[in-house]
């Protein structure tokens, strides 16, 4: 098997606060293979974005990585110095943000921003960098790039701006692109275009993608594999078809049941009772057990690990032999 582009092992992200240390990401592990698109889904506050920022090493203090390792092509990057990490950002890992309205500096022409990014990581001359910027704009489907390159961000529509942001993320040919809800701020009609573009570009450039979203439709259409996050942990991870068509974890089932469907004639969508726990009060054992319709003996006490011999791995005692209750020590 080839080395995965990104390999995250037992990652923990902590936020020390007055009331003790909050664990926003707890023992998260996953791999992204070359050219693969990994979707990361979950409710707000499940730790999707924090996982992305932890990978790129930009967790805002006082937050910190409390344990685990991050490997980029087999090379450990979570313990690199600021300066070494800075050289990796943009060059080997690109990032696309949610809001294209604010992710471009309003005071610079888009060409200037592209050229700045290109020249940060290459030694191209001004004119060569400009040609490269033009090529990138053409590639992301900006019409008349020769004139648009000298426009300011406010002269672009939201969808066009997100195209420019994609061009920026791809400017230095990164191996991995982290897209943090790239379509959430866009019109529905534009979302599909941007997602298709993201997918096509990453395939052409051979970049792996970590696609963070809460839109299952986007995941179904784009991702190869999907990781479902709940309360800072991965509940289930597996090929997108398996997870969507045959979810294992009760939480994933609940998520799927809450999506309206065109086929079938169910009147009501199922809903998961309760809401996601606060980070200050993550339940013991399986974090989902207070809301789980199939909670049973081991769930409140023992924390399930991600396991599974099949393509999908799931962290749920329903699928693993569980420890006998006698061992339960409160």
């Amino acid at each position: 098997m080839t080395t995965p582009v990104l390999s995250v092992r037992n990652l923990k992200v902590e936020f020390p606060t007055r009331r003790g240390t909050l664990t926003a990401i707890d023992e998260v592990s996953f791999d992204i293979g070359p050219g693969e698109v990994l979707g990361v889904v979950g409710e707000s506050g499940a730790g999707k974005s924090i996982t992305g920022t932890a990978v790129i090493g930009l967790i805002e203090p006082p937050g910190r990585i409390g344990g685990g390792e991050v490997y980029l092509r087999g090379e450990r990057i979570d313990n690199l110095s600021q300066e070494a990490m800075r050289k990796i950002r943009g060059k080997r890992i690109g990032m696309v943000f949610q809001d294209p309205l604010t992710s471009l500096n309003p005071l610079y022409r888009i060409g200037e921003q592209l050229i700045e990014t290109i020249q940060t990581h290459t030694t191209l001359s001004d004119s060569a960098a400009r040609r490269r910027a033009l090529a990138l704009l053409t590639e992301v489907g900006i019409p008349a790039p020769e004139t648009r390159i000298d426009n300011y961000p406010h002269q672009f529509s939201g969808g066009m701006r997100q195209r420019v942001v994609l061009a920026l993320a791809l400017a230095a040919e990164p191996e991995l692109v982290i897209a943090d809800e790239p379509t959430t701020a866009l019109d529905v009609s534009v979302q599909a275009q941007i997602i298709a573009l993201l997918k096509r570009l990453c395939r052409q450039h051979g970049a792996a993608v970590m696609l963070i979203t809460h839109d299952m439709g986007v995941i179904a259409e784009t991702a190869d594999r999907v990781a479902v996050m709940y309360a800072g942990r991965i509940a289930e991870i597996g090929p997108v078809r398996d997870v969507i068509k045959a979810p294992l974890h009760p939480y994933t089932k609940g998520l799927m049941g809450s999506i309206p469907s065109l086929v079938g004639d169910s009147d009501r969508l199922t809903q998961i009772p309760g809401s996601m726990p606060r980070l200050t009060a993550i339940p013991s054992g399986c974090a989902f057990h207070p809301r789980c319709p199939r909670c049973f003996t081991p769930c409140p006490t023992f924390r399930p690990e991600l396991q599974g011999e099949q393509k999908s791995q799931v962290a749920c005692w329903l699928y693993h032999p569980f420890p006998v209750t006698a061992e339960a020590v409160p």
Partner: protein, 314 residues
């Protein structure tokens, strides 16, 4: 930004764009701003071309005639010369003295504002962007500084500098010391403003993007944050310019400013106030009027700029 990508535009197109901009429109529709700008321009030109306009080199003792002393404005002196704004006790033309004096005042005013912007904006950017302990140290220093009256700090700096500089250089260094003293007493306002706007800007995605692109922190501060926080600085700078000129005059009035050989408006006022109650009012009145007009016009311009740059008032 490093790369020269700006499209080549004809001069005409650029001028038209400047004329057509919101700020120019706002200027054209504000009679107060136009009047203030006119006054400032006249005073600036007068100071800049003092040697061409002034009928007398006011500070060349050889051109003074004691017989001309205390001539009333517009009247002929004992030697038959007419002084537009009168003459002082040594027969110096008050009009010429004002032109030369405002030159010193404006020089000190502009230079000290630039000096305090350089310090304040840099510290404010660093403070806001880096945060944490750096921020705490810089802002506490600013707080301490702001708990003293600016003029007291300027006096302190001035005193310390006089102690450090050898006496034979005092005359030459006086203007430089004055600039540093006034500049150092005003940086905190810039630092606070810039820090505040930086805190807002640094959480915007474009700063995050630049970090994600792997740009170094100082490049992000200078290229991305600075241009977005400079607007309010311009407004404070304009208003502080008036304050700096007044501070200079106050220091000179107190006798700790520029040496008497290079009098500023403040020095002229100090000299003039000795004669106010003996009837020679013009020696005090005209330099003071010039100072008031200058400070008022600059303040009015600052107010207009503040409103013009405020998107909520458009």
């Amino acid at each position: 930004m490093r790369a020269p990508t700006a499209r080549q535009e004809g001069l005409g197109a650029r001028l038209w764009r400047a004329w057509d901009s919101d700020i120019a429109w706002s200027f054209r529709h504000s009679p107060v701003a136009i009047a203030a700008a006119l006054v400032v321009t006249i005073l600036l030109l007068g100071a800049a071309f003092a040697s061409l306009i002034a009928p007398q080199n006011a500070f060349d003792a050889a051109s003074l005639n004691l017989m001309d002393g205390f001539t009333r404005p517009g009247e002929a002196s004992a030697t038959g010369r007419v002084f537009l704004l009168g003459s002082d006790d040594q027969g110096r033309d008050v009009f010429s003295a004002i032109l030369y004096g405002s030159r010193v005042s404006l020089l000190v005013g502009f230079a000290s504002v630039i000096f305090s912007i350089a310090i304040g904006v840099t510290l404010g950017l660093i403070s806001g962007y880096l945060g944490g302990r750096t921020d705490a140290v810089i802002m506490r220093v600013a707080d301490i500084q702001l708990s003293f009256p600016a003029i007291l700090i300027a006096l302190l700096v001035f005193g310390v500098a006089r102690g450090l500089i050898a006496p034979q250089y005092h005359e030459n260094a006086a203007i430089g010391v004055l600039i540093v003293a006034i500049g150092l007493s005003n940086w905190a306002a810039y630092a606070r403003t810039v820090r505040g706007s930086t805190l807002v800007e640094k959480n915007k995605d474009y700063v995050m993007s630049a970090r994600v692109m792997g740009r170094p922190a100082f490049a992000i501060m200078g290229q991305h944050v600075l241009p977005n926080v400079i607007g309010p600085v311009l407004v404070i700078a304009t208003i502080n310019l008036a304050l700096a000129i007044i501070a200079e005059s106050t220091l000179s009035f107190l006798g700790v400013g520029v040496p008497p050989t290079q009098p500023s408006l403040g020095t002229l006022i100090r000299v003039g106030q000795q004669f106010l109650f003996s009837g020679e009012w013009w020696i005090l009145f005209y330099p003071a009027l010039d100072l008031v007009l200058l400070a008022l016009s600059i303040n009015l311009l600052g107010d207009w700029l503040r409103d013009a740059l405020n998107p909520k008032l458009r």
